[in-house]
Symmetry: C2
Amino acid sequence: MRIALLGYGTVGTSFHRLINAKKNLLKEKYGVVPQLIAICDRSGCMINEEGIPYETAYKTKTKFGRLSEEDNGMHPLDVIRELSLDLMVETTTANFKTGEPALSHIFESMKRGIHVITTNKAPLALHMPALLEEASLNGVEFLYSGTVGGGTPFISFGEKVLRGNSLKEIKGILNGTTNYILTRIIDSGLEMNEALSEAQKLGIAEADPTLDLNGFDSAAKLVILMNHLLGKRVTISDIKISGINENLPKCESGQTVKLIASSSPEPKVSMEVIKRGSPMDVGSTYNVIEFNVEELDKIYVTGRGAGGQETAASIIRDVVELKEKLMQKSYQIY
Amino acid sequence: MRIALLGYGTVGTSFHRLINAKKNLLKEKYGVVPQLIAICDRSGCMINEEGIPYETAYKTKTKFGRLSEEDNGMHPLDVIRELSLDLMVETTTANFKTGEPALSHIFESMKRGIHVITTNKAPLALHMPALLEEASLNGVEFLYSGTVGGGTPFISFGEKVLRGNSLKEIKGILNGTTNYILTRIIDSGLEMNEALSEAQKLGIAEADPTLDLNGFDSAAKLVILMNHLLGKRVTISDIKISGINENLPKCESGQTVKLIASSSPEPKVSMEVIKRGSPMDVGSTYNVIEFNVEELDKIYVTGRGAGGQETAASIIRDVVELKEKLMQKSYQIY
């Protein structure tokens, strides 16, 4: 499997390290032999048709601050156009205004029949219906399990585990940072700005926490879940979004407040009062999704949001998944 | 797919109703055309090579208290031996002393190359390693997702969702009845016998709750999870089992007591003190499993234990799963 990796930050480097470490497991257990032949970041690209060792790429990047000692003239779109690739892995930084550069990387790959795994949720939040259509038109697989709970495989759970049942509704706490802040405000009486700066000190909130606080991160994940699991062709502009702020809704004893994303009756993200001790009452940085399934009772999956390491592990899962989808496809054709 | 259903109590009848109701979905979405040609309970068997309509079986059973008006001389083992079957679905009552009659039904089916789905956990608790070996020897599929959290697909989650990752340890609350009783004792100050009779009135505890209270039900589920997900070839005699009783371990404020089954350091079921507000702190009749995965943080799946309806839905999921396993197998062979 010939792979190009676009983006070489925390997620990209962790993926590179992990896919080297898991080489034997992947081959023996899943029949996957990954070969990373190109890595690009905004500084340029490193290419090696024999496969790029982790040490080489990581050392070059650490030493020169870029992937090639000098600019070799190759850029991500050239890599997609000129190399013979089976898979493009997109791990660049999310840009919720334009979705770029990931959006172009993904469209360009799909047009050339290259399968795509992305951990960048911006292109999905903005254009998921179009991306799904493009993938289907070109007969390529499009996997993105790292975009929602890379550390907790929510998408995979909904897709694989609930098969044969009808999923009616999704509801959840999809952002660990705001959950941490709300928990600290309500349970420990902190002010909003105290809780935020504490979260920043602990590495839970980013230096610019805007997309977490204003509910956009949660809304992007809701878009992905609704498209993927409920078959609703929505984008982020269809979601009614409000984030967290100091005017918490009133809650009585035995209740608490969470930032909840829900698919129905209308898709929205907002602070809601819930019952303490219910399965949705998870604190700290935990995320949780309630799956409302016709034939079953409600089912909850709880786990931490993703750091780079967890998101990288989600790419490995997607690679295995891709391999199996391709095997099933060849069976159907021949 | 030619199916024999053994056991026609709550689970068996719910499965029969459900597979009729889902006929179109199963065919169109999964390419499964199930044909239920034999149903047996302890009174005898009903056989129809064209497929048995739900109304016919249910009415006969309601009217005559048995599946055939008169004894037609057919018994479950005859059905397995004499009909041409693809799948045997085992839903008889659990017997933790001998595992019978399910144990013979399952071995006999496997020997004849018939795939098996069981919701009866007794044969697994007592002889899971031998059953797995017999299935493998005869090249048949053996599915049992309804035995652990039929209402909450724990097994499927562990197997399908965590692939590509290394599962190290399993820990959980695996019995809804005892969880309800402990919750009522600790949170509402009830005595053990008060909580139990309340649970019986609500239909949460059975008339004979022994196997729940003494921890055997939890231990059986732990055996199944350890064999299936951790590859440990254990039976119920390898588990150190204690159930719930009035001598609760001491817990301070901010703590509570749960009946926890855990795979390591030594496999056991016992009451343990846990932190309130942690993801394992689920009340009422909820079950929860903590999956400790090498590459990820801990992941929790929470849901209700199973009633007949949920367990029946788990058989449908297993039927879909069986179909896919068979498709993959034919791909590998040809």
